[in-house]
Symmetry: C4
Subunit: 210 residues, 4 copies
C-alpha cells in the first residue's frame, strides 16, 4: 500500500504475520482434538470394575487423536518447508492459504466422526477426502509459489520442486484410492493411511537434507 | 512510560504485541467454529442407513462454518492491511481494536444460531448485524489511524484511504440492508452476503496492487 | 545456561517467549468466553414465537461476556505496560507470571457461574475475588520487576511506579469491598465493577502519556 | 532447501517457528483445562442453599486444574531452557518435539479423568504415566540436542547437561513409582506429585543461576 510496505523487510514481516496466523490455527486445531476423547460416565459403585473396560473401548478415539495429530503435524512440516523460502505474497497465495487453513481447522470434525463411527465406510471416506483435499491445497500453494519467482527469496532447485509436486500428488491420490478401498474393507483403508504416513516420512528423510 | 519505550524500535515491538494478540483471537475464533458441527448420535444398527442423511441435514452448519470462516478471514485481511503501516498506537486505537476483537470473538455465537435456526429471520438479522458491526469498527480503526499521522510510518495515499472508507461503509450498509431483506426472504438475505463477499473480493483485487 | 544466553539480545528473546505464551493464554481465555453463550433449544414450530424471548433471557451471559472480555483486556493492557520495560527475567518473575496466568485462564469459570446464577451472592463474590486476585498478582509482578532494576532496560520513574502500585491496590481493594456490598445487594456489587472499570480507564488516560 | 535457508539467521527463524507452534499448543492445552470445571445445574429455588456445597464438591476439579496447570508450566519452563541454546534443528528433533507436544495436548484428558474419578487407582496411574512420558520425551529432546553440537549455538557445560539428564530421569522414575504407590493408596500417590514438584523447583533454583 505504501512504498515502505513494498520494501523487503516489511514484506518479510507481512509474511511472518500470515505464518503466525497459520501456526495459531494449526496449534488450536491440533489441541482441540483432545476434546473429543470424553470421560465415560459410570455410577460411583461400578467405577472400579467398569472404568478399565470403558477406557479401552475408547480406542477408536485414541487412534483418531493420534492419526489427526500426526496428519496435522505433517501438514505443518510441509507448510513450514513451503513458506521458508517465501518472502512476499499476493492475493492468490493468501486465498490458497486460507482455503488450506479452512481444511486444517475442519479436521476435528471428520476425526470425531471417525472416533464415533470408525467401523463404517462413510466416515472413513470423509476422513480420507479431507486429508486428500488438504494435501492437494498444500501442493497447490507450493506449486504457485515456486512458479512465481518474485514471491521467493531465491529460485528453488527444479528437481526438488518436481519431487515435492509428485510427492504431494501421489499422497493425495493414495488418500483418494483409500476411499475406494474403504468400500471393500474399512480396516484396510485405515491401514493404508498408516503405511502412507510411514512411507512419506521415510521418503522425505532420504530426499531432503534435513 | 520510559524514554526508551518512546523510541521507534520499541514502538514497533509494542505494535507487534497488539497484532499478535489480535491474531491469536482471530485464529481461535476461526478454529472454534468447527466445534459447532457436532457428530450426530445414531444407534449402531442404523448407522449405515441413517448416517448419510444425518450428515447431509447438517448443511446449515457447514454453510455457517464456511461463511464465518470467510468472514473472519476477510476481517483478518483488512486488519492486516490497516495495521501494516501503523508503527505506534495510542489508547483510542487500543480500545477500538479491543471492541473490534470483542465482535470477532463473538462470531461463533451468531454462527451457531444460524446453524441451528438458519431458516428463521431473527438469527439471520443477528448474524448480519454482527458482521456489520465488525466491519464498521474496522473502518473506524482505519479512519482513526490515518487521521492521526503520528501513528503511521508514513502518510497514506488519500485516494486509497477514501476508497477504503467508502468500501467499509458500503459493505456495512449492505449488511444492514440484508437485515431488511431478511424480513421478506431469509434465503435472499443469505444470498446477499455471498454476492457481497464476492464483489468485495473482486473490487479489492482490482483496486489494490496485490 | 550458556554465556550467550546471558547476552542482552538473547535475554530480549527470552522475555519475548514469556510474553508470547502469556498472550496466547490471554487470547484463548478471552475467546473461550463465547462458548458459554449457548444456543437455546426450541422445538421447530415454536422458534418464531419463542426465540426472541429466549435470546433476551440470555442477557446475564452477554453481560458476563462483556464484563470478562473487558476485564481480561484490562489485564492484558496492564501486563503489556508492565512487561514493556522488562528486558530480563528470573525465576520469581516467571512464577509470579504463571500464577497470574492461572487466574486469567480460570476467568471463564467464574464468568459461567455468573452467567448462570448472577442473581445470587456467591457467584458475584467468587467473580470479584477472582478479579481482585488477578489484579493483586499483576501489581506484585510490577512491584517485583521495578524493585529489581537488573530486570529492566532502564530505571522507572518512581512517581509512576508508586501511582501504578496505589492504583493496583485500590482496584483490588474495591473488588474486595464489592464482595461486602454483594451481601447487601447483588446488583449494586455488579454496578460497582462497571463504575470501577470506567474510573480506572479515565484515571489511566489522565496519568499515562498514551 | 535453499542455500539461504542454510544460513544462520534463517535457521534461527526456523527454530522460532517451531518454538511458536509449541507455545501455541502449551497455551491452548493449559487454557482448555478450565473447560473441565463445569457449572453445577441446580433448580433456581435451591441455588442459595445448595450452590456452596456443590461448588465445594468440585474440589477434585480445582485440584486437577491446579496440578495440570503447574505441570504444563513446568514442561514449558524446561522446554524453554532446552530450546534456548538451540539454533538449528533436524528431522529427529522435530519428530521428538511433536511426540512431546502430543503428550502436552493430551494432558486435559487424564486431568478430566482425575477430576471425575480421582479417588480411584486407574485415573491416578494414567495421570502419572502421562506426566512421566512427557518428562521422558523432554529429557530425550535435551539429550539429543546436546549430543548434536551442530544444533546448538555453543557447546553446553557437560556438568549442567548431566545434571539435567539425571533430574529428568529421576522425576520420570518418581512418577512411575507413584503408580506403584497408587495401588497402595491413591491419596499418597497424589501427595507424591506435590512433593516432587516442590523438590524439583527447589533443586532447580539451587542449581540453575536464574
Amino acid at each position: 500500500m505504501t512504498a515502505a510496505a513494498e520494501s523487503s523487510s516489511d514484506a518479510g514481516r507481512d509474511r511472518d504475520r500470515i505464518v503466525n496466523l497459520s501456526d495459531g490455527i494449526f496449534a488450536i486445531a491440533i489441541t482441540l482434538l483432545v476434546l473429543d476423547i470424553r470421560v465415560p460416565t459410570i455410577p460411583e459403585n461400578l467405577v472400579a470394575s467398569e472404568l478399565p473396560g470403558e477406557l479401552l473401548s475408547l480406542w477408536p478415539r485414541y487412534l483418531g487423536y493420534f492419526l489427526s495429530f500426526v496428519s496435522i503435524s505433517v501438514f505443518w512440516m510441509i507448510h513450514h518447508a513451503i513458506f521458508r523460502p517465501i518472502r512476499a505474497y499476493d492475493r492468490t497465495l493468501l486465498y490458497l492459504n486460507f482455503l488450506f487453513l479452512m481444511v486444517v481447522a475442519f479436521v476435528p470434525f471428520p476425526t470425531a466422526l471417525l472416533g464415533e463411527y470408525g467401523n463404517h465406510q462413510l466416515p472413513v471416506a470423509i476422513y480420507a477426502a479431507t486429508l486428500a483435499t488438504g494435501r492437494l491445497l498444500l501442493t497447490a500453494i507450493h506449486s504457485y509459489s515456486t512458479r512465481n519467482g518474485r514471491l521467493l527469496a531465491e529460485l528453488q532447485d527444479p528437481t526438488m520442486v518436481r519431487f515435492f509436486l509428485i510427492r504431494g500428488l501421489t499422497i493425495s491420490a493414495m488418500f483418494l484410492i483409500s476411499i475406494g478401498i474403504s468400500f471393500l474393507s474399512v480396516r484396510a483403508a485405515i491401514w493404508t493411511w498408516f503405511i502412507m504416513i510411514a512411507i512419506d516420512a521415510i521418503v522425505a528423510r532420504r530426499r531432503l537434507p534435513h
